[in-house]
């Protein structure tokens, strides 16, 4: 306990630009999370629609895809992509990445990181969306069909607006998980907050590596990083819960589970 709370072991926060170094790296995590979430929502919607499509082959294929990718470890997907994304794709990204993105997001390896996050989360979100859509009373679609709406129109005007509304709280809680998962890209050498934390603790107090004379013990650095995540994710979980309650009052939705996901999500 003495070691943990010893002010000398926390002095690094106020030294040099250490605090800024970590907080800026943490923003990279949040950016990765938001980008991956946006892409995963799009891909997830396509997968969800395919998995309830009329065509049996499409439906089966989409279901298999979703079941495989939501049941594989995310870090597995990231490491595999890091080893196999073709050169042409990496080149294209390195040459065409918008300049306003931070360095970490313009690197050639970030594709494997974001690719893995999207692959995994789109499968999870597709499953959540499918449950959301299927939870709608069958009568709604039948009524729409009776009014002469085509399949496309039934989806566009009746099913999706309601089904997706119910998805909002679930999406926010999945964003919490996604936020935490962004740290995994540190394993493929993308400089986000965990990697920056390791670099900080290895270089602070080490003039050979460009540091000053105050050490930054890895225990304290990692606890600090953990607290950054708790802060942001707790705020998000409050938002998610408030949305759930509101949605619950409107539509009698109640918490349900999507297999293989830690969080309870509200879908039906």
């Amino acid at each position: 306990m003495g070691y943990l709370f010893d002010p000398d072991n926390w002095a690094w926060i106020g030294t040099e630009n250490n605090l800024r170094f970590l907080v800026e790296a943490f923003l990279v995590n949040l950016e990765i999370a938001v980008i991956a979430m946006a892409l995963a929502l799009g891909a997830g919607l396509v997968l969800a629609l395919l998995s309830i499509a009329g065509n049996v082959v499409l439906r089966r294929a989409a279901k298999l895809w979703v079941d495989v990718f939501r049941n594989l470890p995310l870090i597995f997907l990231i490491l595999y992509l890091a080893l196999t994304i073709p050169e042409a794709v990496r080149d294209f990204w390195a040459d065409n990445a918008p300049g306003f993105l931070p360095d970490a997001l313009r690197s050639r390896l970030v594709l494997a990181g974001i690719g893995g996050l999207v692959l995994y989360n789109s499968a999870v979100l597709a499953e959540i969306m499918r449950a959301g859509i299927l939870s709608l009373d069958r009568g709604q679609r039948e009524a729409a069909a009776a009014l002469g709406l085509s399949y496309r129109q039934q989806m566009r005007f009746v099913v999706l607006p309601q089904g997706l509304r119910r998805m909002v709280p679930a999406t926010v809680s999945q964003l919490i998980t996604l936020n935490k998962d962004t740290t995994l890209v540190s394993i493929i050498a993308i400089q986000e907050v965990v990697r920056s934390g390791r670099i900080l603790s290895q270089t602070a107090g080490n003039p050979f590596a460009g540091g000053g004379d105050v050490e930054a013990p890895i225990l304290q650095v990692m606890i600090f990083i953990g607290l950054l995540f708790v802060l942001v994710n707790y705020a998000l979980s409050r938002v998610s819960r408030r949305l759930e309650v509101r949605e619950g009052r409107r539509t009698a939705a109640r918490p349900a589970r999507v297999a293989g996901v830690e969080e309870t999500v509200t879908v039906a």
Binding site: N71, G197, P217, V230
Partner: protein, 217 residues
């Protein structure tokens, strides 16, 4: 395709076994700590409830990778002699326990207030009402969520091997096979089969438990 598996069967099998042990041991930790945290969260004493809530919010909002660094690299630097296995099981267990606690709490909430009051009026103390009446029912209502959490745990266990702890789990062994054979897709394919096997097993086991014991509400 198959020669990568047959020629490296030892590696894949030992990796699968390491992952399995890691998940089983962490599951026990998660169940015990999760039950305690859930009991705190439904306690009649305000400060115990707060304690339970803080525990849950901290551990489910912190990335597992960060917990692994804290429990292994961090504690070892603080002169705590913790092994990679202990740190891995503790981190995965504590992380998952927050979710177990949340699931159990919703199970407890589903047990009717009347049963608790009946128990109390029969002279049982609050902890024994919890232990004898509420928790047994709560567990049975949350079998499905526990199954879901277990599957998540199988997936999260891969983070332990890929982190500084470097435990030779299924993913790590597949990467070693890859570095020896340069057959990336084949090596990862067989690891994927292993992971899907584990998640499918968990699904089947929990479905069977559910069919047998579940209380649907």
């Amino acid at each position: 395709m198959f020669d990568v598996l047959t020629e490296n069967l030892d590696a894949f099998a030992s990796g699968l076994w390491v992952t399995t042990r890691l998940v089983l041991a962490s599951f026990v930790v998660a169940l015990v700590l999760g039950t305690v945290a859930a009991a705190l969260r439904v306690s009649p004493v305000q400060w115990l409830r707060t304690l339970g809530a803080v525990y849950v919010e901290i551990f489910r909002n912190t990335p597992l990778l960060v917990l692994l660094f804290i429990s292994f690299a961090g504690l070892r630097r603080a002169e705590v002699d913790i092994s990679a296995w202990t740190a891995g099981i503790a981190s995965l267990g504590v992380y998952t326990s927050a979710y177990v606690a949340e699931a159990l709490r919703s199970g407890v909430a589903a047990v009717s207030r009347g049963q608790i009051e009946a128990g109390l009026s029969l002279g049982f103390s609050y902890p024994s009402v919890l232990r004898r009446i509420v928790l047994p029912q709560a567990f049975r209502t949350v079998i499905a969520p526990l199954g879901s959490i277990t599957i998540a745990m199988v997936k999260n266990s891969a983070i332990v091997g890929a982190s500084l702890l470097a435990l030779p789990d299924l993913l790590k062994e597949a990467r070693i096979v890859n570095s020896n054979t340069f057959q990336t897709t084949e090596s990862f394919f067989w690891a994927a089969v292993g992971y899907l096997l584990l998640t499918a097993t968990a699904t089947v086991v929990f479905r069977a438990l559910e069919g047998r014991y579940a209380i649907h509400r």
